[in-house]
Every structure is written in C-alpha cells, then in structure tokens.
Symmetry: C2
Subunit: 216 residues, 2 copies
DNA sequence: ACCTGAACACCGTTCAAGT
DNA sequence: ACCTGAACACCGTTCAAGT
C-alpha cells in the first residue's frame, strides 16, 4: 500500500523515538475526536493539535498538510477493514456460495456499523485529493480476497468471475454507503441488509454455471 | 422541497429584478466552473465571484455562506434528477417488471454519467451540513415514483413493496456512486451496469408473489 | 530528534458607502 | 433593490529558536 501513496500525502518524517510515536498516535486520536465532536468543517489544525496536547508545529512535522491527516486516518481504517474482510473470506474457502455471500455482507456491514459516527466522519473526511489511490488499493485487496473465495465455492462456478465479483462488491459497498448517507432508521437499515443478501444470492444463482443436462 | 430546507441554508434574499436573476445564475454557473477546473478544495468565494463577474459582497446577499452555495447547487441538480426519474416511471406504469427495472437503472445511470465531472464534483461538494434533508427529500420523491410504478406491474406483485423498493433504490444509487468513486474504466462500468440490471431482475423474481398452484 | 509558538499569507464574511 | 470592495477575524502553514 505504501508504494501507491502519492508523495505529497506521505508523512514528512516517521517517528523514530518513543515519544514521537506517542505524539503521532495522540494526533490520530485527537483527529477522530474533533471530527466527531466538531465535524469536518470545524476541524482546525490548531484544535487538533491542542486536543493532542502538542503544538501545531509538531503536527506539521509529521503531516505535510491537513488533508494528509485525513488521508492517513482513512488509510489506517481501510487497512483494517481489508484485513477483516480477507479473514472472513479465507475462513469460507470451499463453502457453499450462499454462506459466502452472507458472511461477506455481514462482515462488511457490521464493520461499518460498529462505530457509525466514526464511519460517517470518515466518509465525509475523504473529500478531496487522491483518495482514489487509497480506495483503489483497498478495492484491489478486497477484490482478490473475495474472488479467491468465490472461485473455491463447492457448489457453483462462474463464466466471468471477475465481472461477477466486481458487481457484487460495487453493490455491497455502495448500498452500505447509501444507507449511511440517508441515515436510515435502524429497522429499515436492518431490512435492507437482509434483502441485500437475498439479492446477491438471487444474482449469483442467476449467473452461475449449471451442469449440462445429461446428453441423450 | 423548499419547506424542508433548513433556514440557515436558505438564500438570504430572492432575486426580484431581472439583473439580480442574471447575477444568481451567473454565480451558479461560475460555481460549477470553478468546481470543475480548481476542485472543491481550491474553490474560494472570491474566485467564484470573480468568475461570475460580481463582487464577493453580492454573492453574500444571496447565499449566507459558502456551503449554502453547494447546497443550492445540489438542490437544483437533485430536483432535476428526481423529475427525470419520475417521468421514466410514469411512462412505464402497467409494464412488465423487467422493463421497469431496466428503464430505472438506465435512466438513473445515464443521468449521472452524462456529465461525469459534474457528477463527481457534486458528490464531493456535499461534504458537510444538513445535506441529509436534501437527500431525504430527493429519496422521498424517487421512492414515491418507483413504488407507484412497481405496484402497477402487469406481471408481479410483492408482499412488502416498501422494503423491496427501498432495497432496489439503495442498491442502484449506491452502485452508481461506488462506480464513480472508484472511477472505473468505461468498459468495466458498462459491465457493472448490465449486471446490475440482471441483479435487480433476479432479486425481484425471487421476492415476487407467485400465484398459488391450483388446489387439488 | 523532537518540540514550540509567533509570524505571514490567505480566505470567509461583514458592512458602510454607493447606484 | 442591488452592487462594491476595503476591513476584520480566523485558519493553514512556516521557520527560527529551543530541549
């Protein structure tokens, strides 16, 4: 992932001593806090620095500018999420296709819903800049994990797995974001989640290869 | 829609004279231009005003602050989009369900893809504030239009139409946004669009009510 | 190696003065 | 009714000076 990070978003310097590491961690934590309490619009560098207990100058030693802060925050978050999805996928290799879809949707959904305000804050913090590189790297990792899982399904094969896989991920990622954006009430959100699984299953069933009927 | 707009986002004053209307239009147009050429991050009020050929002060007579500009822009855009979708839906009343889904996905997708950079700029401009009210109003309108359409399907009925409808819209809106966010190459985007229709059809087929088999 | 905070440039917003 | 633009407060970013 690091290799895909545009240079202007890279931290200026990596923490080398213990206190520096503590500083960077404090800045991350402070950023989330300010994001949650004040919103992205009222998040100022001074405020974050104050909350982290350091001076602005210190912050700028590690992050070349404000957006780099958001970038690093999202990078951390997406790394985590990709890893979670990967684990889920590996554990389902060889399983029936329905189990896979259910596990995938549930894992992704739950990960996003665990701390909804953080998720929302992050969605909003990715305003600008080359977050595309970030999202691309994330998508690539998840893509690989789910494609490998689906390829191993015990009860289904697909003529064009890459397209099927891309469609599924696009739909799942998108739906979750949509639900957050509309801030749907919990019961409606839960209903959509159940239906989404149904939908993915119906789709996979429609596009999967069926064994030829015995010749005669 | 106007009734749901939060007060602090309302234009300060409505243009009453012809030259004022021209001013407001120029400001809108300038905002889009600056958004496209400089990006949301480098969009300053002075720059927009300059491009529109007015002074900053004038801008502030109509928009209480910068965000209100973005808000108004999105409002215009979503009004338009909702109307387009509504027309599509009305024209399909009584049609078979497959035609409906196909028309819905195609209309929405094409509307968003017609001017991709504008779409992207708008997605990014809705950073903050109560865009929720805006999106909610939009969703409500589209919701009503599609629900009425699906209820009139010549070849299908649904036990829980509201949930089915909500799921479909969440998926369609979300997928389109996902495709934009990842900036998928045209051929992959096209493939996803086709698959999305397939997916919706498979889903509707799975959840639709079938006539009871004749008793015996 | 790491931290500080005053200083600078710039941007959002206002308001007294104009037509 | 509509427009102007200098003025003000504030925020992002820097850098000389410190430990």
């Amino acid at each position: 992932m690091a290799s895909t990070t545009p240079a202007h978003l890279t931290p200026r310097k990596r923490p080398r001593q213990a206190r520096a590491t503590a500083t960077v961690d404090a800045i991350f934590e402070a950023t989330i806090q300010v994001l949650l309490t004040d919103g992205p619009h009222r998040l100022t560098t001074t405020r974050v620095a104050a909350r982290a207990g350091v001076s602005v100058g210190t912050m700028y030693q590690y992050f070349p500018h404000k957006q780099a802060l958001f970038y690093a925050l999202n990078e951390r978050y997406l790394d985590d999420l990709a890893e979670t999805v990967r684990n889920t996928c590996e554990a389902r290799h060889g399983a029936p296709i329905v189990d896979m879809v259910q596990a995938l949707v549930t894992t992704y959904w739950d990960a996003k819903t665990k701390r909804p305000e953080v998720t929302r804050a992050l969605y909003r913090s990715v305003v600008e800049l080359d977050n595309e590189a970030l999202l691309e790297a994330f998508a690539r990792r998840v893509d690989a994990a789910t494609a490998a899982m689906f390829a191993s399904a015990s009860d289904a094969g697909f003529a064009d797995l890459p397209v099927v896989n891309l469609t599924l991920l696009t739909t799942i990622f998108g739906s979750v974001r949509s639900v957050f954006e509309r801030n749907l009430p919990a019961d409606e959100a839960a209903a959509v989640r159940r239906q989404l699984i149904l939908m993915c299953v119906a789709y996979l069933d429609a596009v999967r290869l069926r064994p030829d009927p015995p010749a005669g």
